[in-house]
């Protein structure tokens, strides 16, 4: 007889086993699992790539959606170009020249892409859990502020101070996400409203702290903290540009977030809660814990984005150092379809726009607000994507029905001549 209760000591569960680490699973199935041949061994890289682009969903289709969305958004923004008295050719030339036209420009593109990439990851972690963290901007500001204050006031040797600043950034961002997280988890207050409120509180509080009467304002520079020692900053990695070591942090974060989401139990819980919270809770996942974890991770990553700007670009905290990276990050995350690699690509696209915007303004006379319009259009087209996919599927079905008239889809056309007689 195949009674398959695992042999576990009866006493073990009266004191919950702390070293658990084994799911209860049918012995038969465990045996079948062991007996089943491994699918062909693959290298680490290909396994990792498949984990980053999950569940067989065609990478080609995703890249296609990416390119179409970007093209449509740029096309829809074209009227602004002409209204500004410029034309498409001049604008494209200025944009490309400013973003990819020289070593300096390329460096600048990456410099702009770094905070977008990191905060895009922050947005994605929360979105994967079904949480619309619109407060990434505020979390980023508080992360930058915390890093700036630690860098300006704490006395530590360089590399240690750098780590302390980054840690402060994580803490600042996570703290700012904690309040909406707790309100969501324990009071059921929708995170959209609370994170937005936290944004405005962050803007005002941070401005106060470096205002003339604020406690952290620099003696020489208004609306900023004192400078962070050079050796505690993120070093420039490409001489002659502003490109700094934050790039390494960003790349490490892409890998870490991909790993987290697709290769750890916690990531599974985050995605499960995002996909169906009731099913998650029925499957033994604590919704409250997962919501708080996700928001803290998201806020912490956003805080790193702020800290990296402070440590890599400015060397001190400036009031309003972020032109709205946290909002643009929503577009980055959505354009990247919430996948870490996609977000990296989207960040590079928006980084190019941001870098090129300076040239765009100088040469073609087009306001740099254009970038914000394009990001809004990208988000709008992403919102419309499901409808477009539905339409495509519908058209494909109709087309295949036409090709194969014997299939049941087109039985209605045949029904008049169909000799089948009910009963």
């Amino acid at each position: 007889m195949s009674t398959s209760t695992p042999q576990r000591p009866v006493a073990a569960s009266t004191t919950p086993p702390r070293q658990r680490r084994a799911s209860r699973i049918d012995a038969d199935i465990l045996a079948a699992l062991a007996a089943r041949p491994e699918p062909g061994a693959r290298g680490f890289v290909s396994r990792f790539v498949s984990s980053v682009a999950p569940a067989g969903a065609g990478v080609g289709a995703k890249a296609g959606a990416f390119l179409i969305t970007v093209s449509l958004a740029l096309l829809a923004a074209l009227p602004i170009v002409y209204l500004s008295g410029s034309d498409a050719a001049t604008a494209i030339e200025a944009l490309l020249g400013g973003s990819w036209g020289s070593g300096l420009a390329i460096g600048e593109t990456f410099v702009q892409a770094i905070p977008l990439l990191i905060s895009g990851l922050a947005v994605a972690v929360a979105f994967h859990t079904g949480l619309f963290n619109i407060g990434v901007e505020g979390q980023l500001v508080m992360g930058g502020l915390a890093a700036g204050i630690v860098g300006a006031t704490v006395d530590l040797p360089g590399p240690l101070l750098l780590l302390a600043c980054l840690a402060a950034g994580v803490a600042g961002g996570a703290l700012w996400a904690l309040i909406p997280a707790l309100l969501k988890a324990f009071r059921g207050v929708h995170e959209v409203v609370t994170t937005i409120m936290m944004n405005y509180i962050a803007f005002n509080v941070s401005r106060f702290l470096v205002s003339p009467s604020g406690p952290f304002v620099s003696e020489t520079q208004p609306s900023a903290t004192e400078k962070i020692p050079l050796e505690a900053r993120l070093a420039v990695v490409a001489p002659g540009t502003r490109l700094h070591a934050g790039l390494v942090i960003a790349i490490l974060l892409v890998i870490a977030v991909a790993w987290l989401l697709y290769r750890t139990p916690e990531g599974f819980r985050l995605r499960l809660v995002g996909a169906n919270p009731a099913a998650a809770s029925t499957a033994g996942v604590s919704l409250r814990r997962t919501v708080v974890t996700s928001m803290l991770l998201s806020g912490g990553i956003a805080g790193i984005a702020g800290a990296v700007q402070v440590l890599g670009v400015f060397g001190r905290y400036y009031d309003a150092f972020s032109p709205g990276y946290g909002f643009e990050a929503i577009a980055v995350a959505l354009l990247g379809a919430l996948s870490p690699i996609g977000i990296a690509a989207a960040a590079l696209f928006f980084g190019s726009l941001d870098a090129g915007a300076v040239q765009l303004q100088a040469v073609a006379g087009i306001s740099r607000e254009m970038v914000s319009v394009v990001s809004g259009l990208v988000v709008a087209f992403v919102a419309a994507q499901p409808a477009v996919l539905r339409l495509l599927r519908h058209l494909r079905e109709r087309a295949s029905a036409r090709r194969a008239p014997a299939r049941p889809t087109s039985a209605r056309r045949a029904s008049g001549t169909d000799p089948k007689d009910p009963a």
Binding site: M1, S2, T3, S4, T5, P6, V10, S13, T14, P16, R20, R21, A22, S23, R24, I25, D26, A27, I29, L30, A32, L33, R36, E38, P39, A55, G56, W259, Y262, R263, T264, P265, E266, G267, F268, R269, R271, L272, A275, N276, A278, A279, A280, S281, T282, A283, G284, V285, S286, E397, R407, P408, T409, A411, R412, S415, D418, K420, P422, A423
Partner: protein, 518 residues
């Protein structure tokens, strides 16, 4: 001959590659009750939604009262005198009865729609009038969310009649009613017929069809497979009735009634022991024992404590009073995850709500509850994928799930195949106690049989099974013992062998209080 109240000719409807209705022709005589019989998925509801203008047929013609019609929306159908009572309630819980009745019916012309106050007073009077005429006894100002299932059903009918419907379509109206409530509804329907209303009754319950209908049309796999007159002889004469019922079953499922799984009850030690369990609110106190090797069915009218019981057992809501023991170990205070680890498995009632996540792959869906610890997650920082894929493949093979690949989103599968995967996943927990809540609702015959076999197999291997079901046929098919819940308490208990449907019905409706428990 008068023209039929409703005539459908050659109606077909496809959803993607699936043909829900194929060339259906149906004629309903005015002032009659016309049954529409068929298994789940036979296409009954689709057909009636077409008649009601909620979905559009690919082809075919509809006539109402002899005149051809083409409905673009349910508003058109309502205007033509067709009312529909959906299987899922279409009432808004936060609205009062009157608000639900006048919703969308009130005014024409922009002034009276946008500016003039809604005439609630007249509407209330009319509601009271109709309610009295048909013996409904409804409070027009009660919020619908607070009404009993039977009362809500009556509001639904009132709502259909409100717009002056002369033809009424009822989709499985007694699915959630206790037998006495259902009987009350039958009387209402007969009264409506005697006043000239035409009724189309969708059902898969044979006794109901035979009891009420003048004529019945049987659907199978989206086509009409038969049409039978039901006369008084069939209603009164036992042999004629048995013959008719057998005939209808054959038409409905295309073969004789399937064998029921063997019942080999040999109760072992108590697995689940519940004492004085309550949620601090309207549920409890409840005492309940389920032994290994036994299937205990919890029956009752929907909303009488079934979901509270399940939530308490799986740890979704906190135990306020009493105790739960599994194999002698207390469960109260443990999280859902720990309970799964101690040997509870759970097939949730609403699959899309609680059992699966449509957008995730089969592999991810098969992993629910297996992501803490070996074999798939040996450490906190590693959740294997290949092992989970192989696990999913094993479930697919063993439960005969029809799926293209473990990487496909589970939403792309049919309901039956989704449920098979869920059942496989829950069986893989090697449960000591399986909680199965309406495990076959909405499934076709083949999938239903597969689920029943799985539960019976588990029972035969010595586990305890708690089956929560509204389907008495299912309960009589596989359960060994029946407990009846009402108002959050257990009010009756019997072994299936000694069970008597009337007595169970009386317990469910409260006509008979708990007698000395068996």
């Amino acid at each position: 001959m008068t023209s039929p109240a409703v005539r459908l000719t050659g109606v077909s409807k496809h959803f993607g590659p699936v043909a829900a209705n194929r060339d259906i022709t149906l004629s309903v005589a005015p002032g009659s009750i016309h049954g529409l019989l068929g298994e789940n998925g036979a296409g009954k509801s689709t057909l009636m939604k077409i008649l009601f203008g909620m979905i559009h047929a690919d082809s075919g013609a509809i006539e109402v009262g002899g005149a051809p019609v083409s409905f673009r929306s349910s508003a058109d159908a309502l205007a033509a005198g067709i009312g529909m009572v959906q299987q899922h309630f279409s009432l808004i819980p936060t609205f009062t009865v009157v608000e639900n009745l006048v919703m969308g019916r009130g005014a024409t012309g922009w002034f009276s729609r946008w500016l003039r106050p809604l005439d609630v007073k007249t509407a209330r009077e009319r509601a009271v009038g109709l309610s009295e005429r048909f013996g409904f006894g409804l409070d027009p100002d009660a919020r619908c969310g607070t009404l009993s299932v039977g009362a809500r059903q009556k509001v639904e009918i009132l709502k259909a009649l409100w717009g002056g419907a002369t033809t009424l379509v009822l989709d499985e109206p007694t699915a959630a009613l206790s037998p006495p409530e259902a009987e009350e509804l039958y009387l209402v329907l007969e009264r409506l017929r005697s006043e000239g209303t035409t009724i189309i009754l969708i059902s898969h319950k044979l006794p109901e069809i035979v009891r009420l209908c003048d004529r019945v049309t049987v659907l199978r796999d989206g086509t009409v497979v038969g049409d039978r007159e039901i006369d008084d002889e069939a209603r009164t004469d036992a042999r004629a009735r048995a013959g008719l019922e057998a005939d209808l079953v054959r038409l409905m499922i295309g073969r004789e009634r399937p064998e029921t799984p063997s019942r080999s009850a040999r109760a072992l030690d108590t697995v689940l022991e519940v004492r004085g369990l309550g949620d601090g609110g309207r549920f409890g106190p409840v005492d309940l024992d389920v032994a290994g090797g036994e299937i205990v069915a919890v029956v009752g009218v929907e909303g009488n404590g079934q979901s509270e019981l399940i939530d308490l057992l799986i740890g979704a809501s906190p135990t306020r009073t009493g105790s739960i023991e599994l194999d002698g170990r207390p469960l109260q205070g443990l999280s859902t995850r720990r309970r799964l680890d101690s040997g509870i498995a759970h097939i949730p009632e609403d699959r899309h709500e609680r059992a699966i996540a449509d957008d995730l792959s089969l592999t991810d869906n098969a992993s629910f509850g297996f992501i803490d610890g070996a074999p798939f997650a040996p450490t906190r920082f590693w959740l294997g994928k290949r092992a989970r894929v192989r696990f999913t493949e094993i479930l697919i093979e063993r439960r005969r799930v029809r799926a293209s690949s473990p990487a496909a989103p589970i939403g792309s599968l049919s309901g039956g195949n989704q449920q098979k995967l869920v059942v496989g996943r829950e069986l893989a927990r090697a449960p000591r106690l399986m909680i199965a809540a309406q495990p076959t609702r909405g499934l076709d015959i083949a999938s239903t049989t597969a689920v029943h076999e799985a539960l019976v197999g588990l029972r035969d291997r010595g586990s305890a099974v708690l089956l929560v079901s509204l389907d008495l046929t299912e309960v009589f098919t596989i359960a060994d013992r029946i407990v009846v819940v009402r108002g959050g308490r257990i009010v009756g208990e019997t072994s299936t062998g000694a069970a008597d449907v009337d007595r169970i019905g009386a317990w469910m409706s409260g006509a008979e209080e708990r007698t000395a428990a068996a």
